[in-house]
């Protein structure tokens, strides 16, 4: 007879805490749009695929060939005001700027086992050579879409859609127990 599995909440570590509310935009636009947006946002845009640029609390994350996530992890002003500034800078250029600040929540996974914990739900090769510091991408964590961004050798910023927050955080805690 196989032993009965232990209950799932047995000694499970706490869920990773949500990071402070951030300002987030999705920007679609060509190189001219990105140059104009850089002036207002203060951070350049990586032309290389799957790369993030960081300056202070603000970052730009490559999501697709003409698509970026703009992230401010410690916003000093309301997202609407920031959007107005960006729109002024990009006036006359074809683009799409969408405020997704409240669509997503984020956690940080750090420590020596960070990569192993994420691999509990994410099939990407997270070896430092394959997924170096500064690399970012949309991918999957189990059944949920996430944005994964390596901010340090042993730290990842993980964005997820708000309604998947409990699912992703509970599963991260469950994997962490086994690591």
């Amino acid at each position: 007879m196989p032993e009965q599995a232990a209950p799932l909440d047995d000694a499970a570590p706490p869920w990773p805490p949500l990071l402070a509310p951030a300002t987030r935009f999705i920007l679609h636009g060509n190189a001219a749009v990105r140059a104009a947006a850089t002036a207002a946002w203060g951070v350049p845009f990586a032309e290389e695929a799957c790369r993030a640029r960081l300056l202070g609390s603000r970052a730009t994350l490559w999501m697709g060939p003409d698509e970026y996530l703009l992230l401010d992890r410690a916003p000093a002003e309301a997202a609407g005001d920031t959007a107005s500034g960006l729109e002024r800078a990009m006036a006359g250029l074809d683009h799409a700027l969408v405020d997704v600040s409240h669509r997503q929540v984020a956690v940080e996974i750090n420590g020596a086992h960070a990569g192993h914990i994420l691999n509990g739900g994410c099939p990407l090769d997270l070896d430092l050579k394959e997924f170096p510091v500064g690399m970012c991408t949309r991918t999957l964590f189990a059944k949920a879409d996430i944005v994964l961004w390596r901010t340090a050798a042993d730290a990842f910023h993980v964005e997820m859609w708000r309604s998947f927050g409990d699912y992703v955080r509970a599963l991260l805690a469950e994997v962490a127990r086994d690591c």
Binding site: A49, C50, M63, G64, P65, E67, P123, L124, T137, R138, T139, L140, D145
Partner: protein, 101 residues
């Protein structure tokens, strides 16, 4: 799990992708000038290739972009992937299925 090479993101796991049907099918310029037979050909008729097949894929859970792929339908081996603005790579149809590397 298959590894598929996104032309933008590089090697990625199969579960990040969705299939988009046969590639290089051009929508007729003036559908109203086609007879029913020609319109049905455009809508429904596909090659059902045994061997190397040109088809659309989308990196749906990654960069979100459509691209084209040459896949051997007998082995599921992806022979090549290329952007939709690139020409189809010329690859000889093998006489016998080529096993994946």
């Amino acid at each position: 799990m298959l590894i598929i090479v996104c032309p933008f993101c590089g090697k990625r796991p199969e579960i990040e992708f969705t299939y988009g049907g046969q590639a290089h099918i051009t929508r007729p310029e003036r559908p109203s000038e086609l007879d029913d037979q020609a319109w049905a050909e455009f809508l429904y008729m596909r090659s059902n290739t045994k061997g190397i097949h040109a088809e659309r894929w989308r990196h749906a859970r990654g960069c979100g972009r459509f691209f084209n792929a040459l896949r051997d339908t007998t082995t599921d081996h992806f022979v090549a992937t290329y952007r939709i603005d690139e020409p189809q790579p010329q690859i000889e149809q093998p006489a016998e299925p080529v096993p994946p590397p």
